[in-house]
């Protein structure tokens, strides 16, 4: 029978909480910035400007068809060769934003394309300007349509952020690995680390649900 010994875990719980706090900050910042990148990317991808369309298309394809681990190594170990030296936390944030931005662009594009053409024409007929049309007629319904897909991508982003421990960022996964190297209580440590990630996921999805209620509680058009 395996004897659980949680003493090493709870004696160093502050380390794990500190790691979890970095994971939360990193993920939250990457979600907010990633949303901005996604919306801009989707607008560019659906725009009539051919060049813009192609550039964003290339960005999406490159990022979605390469592993995150390689992207983060490129940013952290590769860029210093051309004089750009990013600290581990900053490199991690940029890598996460760039990564989630590519997936988010496609999700947001699907949202924009789901808005019926006739709705936009109706807006034009009512005399709305292009910005007003985008804001009230395209953006909000588009976001509402793809909200579940976008938020699950964000939760996935939070879980993916555990990879940043490979470039020595001090996130929750790295705190767990450090503690494991010190105490060798792998089973207990990763049980608690898993529980903390699960708690963070539930926290974020709770937050997203609350936001959904606040932002999109107007009656559906269909």
């Amino acid at each position: 029978m395996y004897h659980f010994n949680f003493t090493p875990v709870f004696d160093n719980f502050d380390l794990l909480l500190y790691g979890a706090w970095l994971t939360v900050r990193l993920s939250f910042a990457a979600m907010v910035l990633g949303l901005v990148v996604s919306v801009l990317g989707a607008v560019a991808r659906t725009s009539r400007f051919r060049g813009l369309h192609w550039i964003v298309g290339a960005y999406v394809e490159v990022i979605r068809n390469t592993p995150f681990l390689v992207q983060i190594f490129f940013l952290y170990f590769g860029l210093p060769a051309i004089g750009i030296s990013l600290g581990p936390n900053l490199a991690a944030l940029i890598a996460l934003v760039v990564n989630v931005g590519a997936y988010g662009t496609e999700i947001a594009r699907a949202g924009i394309e789901s808005v019926p053409r006739g709705q936009v024409e109706a807006g034009r007929a009512l005399g709305l300007g292009p910005l007003q049309i985008f804001r009230y007629i395209i953006f909000r319904p588009a976001l509402r349509n793809v909200y579940p897909a976008l938020t699950s991508q964000f939760i996935y982003l939070m879980l993916t952020s555990s990879v940043v421990s490979t470039i020595s960022a001090n996130d929750l996964a790295s705190a767990g690995a450090d503690l494991n190297a010190k105490t060798f209580a792998s089973f207990e440590i990763y049980l608690v680390v898993t529980a903390l990630y699960l708690a963070l996921s539930l926290l974020f999805s709770g937050l997203f649900r609350a936001l959904q209620g606040a932002l999109f509680n107007y009656p559906a058009s269909r």
């Binding site: 170990f77 210093p80 030296s85 581990p88 790295s174 010190k182």
Partner: protein, 272 residues
């Protein structure tokens, strides 16, 4: 019951007899054979490894060849492994071990060691331009280590609070952090440091040592004359540059002072 006991005792006695007794290889025997049988590791680069032609080579192989040359006999390199190297020696299958055997009190109970011929050192290593001479100077600087390595433990113990210790999962990533300039310093062994120096010559240097482990040539206890001859060889090879040449070839540096000035006594005292 009594019969059983007797049987067990008999079996044990037989087993004890079956274990080869430690047979001291005398200097005379080796010289009479004209061959020195040397046990060495072949899975411990750069000290012992197999060449692409399938022959043992490395720091240990070169040392063994120089030793045999000094004794005026031929050399026969016998591949051994970490766990079986001492049994190989004690059972008389090899005359000596030049097998990167670290001089420790436990091993000194079973074999006799020569003075150190090689050493492994873990150290703080980094960019030449960074001024660091002791642990205090690490304050505020960042340093790459492999998570949970001996370097990590040593640095964590002595570094001031403000040192940023960046932990990576393996040697390759930690070395990459140093080479790409992400961290100006690194905790590393002299073996890996030699590889870094080969990739980027002259860019980095040793700052200070964290810990050292010296390695000795081992013989069966009581082989006094053979051991004396080996010690003569090492003293001679240290002086005439043979060991420096071997060390430069495999480790990229001359014999370090902790090896050159080391002794079995000092090594054993340091481990107590």
């Amino acid at each position: 019951m009594n019969i059983l006991k007797t049987l067990v005792a008999a079996a044990l006695a037989t087993a004890a007899l079956a274990v080869p007794q430690a047979q001291a290889s005398t200097l005379k025997q080796v010289e009479a054979h004209g061959v020195l049988k040397v046990g060495m590791l072949v899975d411990f680069p750069p000290f012992g490894l197999m060449s692409t032609a399938g022959k043992p080579e490395g720091y240990d192989a070169d040392t063994a060849k120089a030793l045999a040359k000094y004794m005026g006999v031929k050399v026969q390199l016998v591949p051994v492994t970490g766990p079986n190297r001492i049994p190989y020696l004690l059972s008389g299958q090899v005359d000596v071990l030049v097998a990167s055997l670290g001089i420790t009190p436990d091993r000194a109970k079973r074999v006799d060691f020569s003075r150190p011929y090689a050493g492994i050192e873990i150290m703080v290593y980094g960019k030449k331009s960074v001024k660091v001479t002791d642990a205090k100077d690490l304050a505020g600087k960042s340093l790459a280590v492999v998570r949970a390595s001996t370097q990590d433990q040593a640095v964590t113990k002595i570094a001031p609070k403000s040192t940023i210790i960046r932990r990576f999962d393996d040697d390759a990533a930690a070395v990459q952090a140093l080479m790409s300039g992400q961290t100006p310093l690194m905790g590393v062994s002299n073996v890996v440091a030699a590889q870094i120096n080969k990739a980027k010559p002259g860019e980095f240097n040793e700052k200070f040592a964290l810990a050292t482990q010296v390695q000795g040539i081992a013989v069966v206890p009581g082989s006094t004359k053979l051991l004396a001859k080996i010690n003569d060889f090492i003293a001679h090879a240290m002086k005439d540059g043979t060991m420096d040449k071997i060390s430069e070839k495999w480790l990229g540096t001359k014999i370090q002072p902790f090896v050159r000035n080391g002794s079995v006594k000092a090594a054993l005292a340091a481990k107590k």
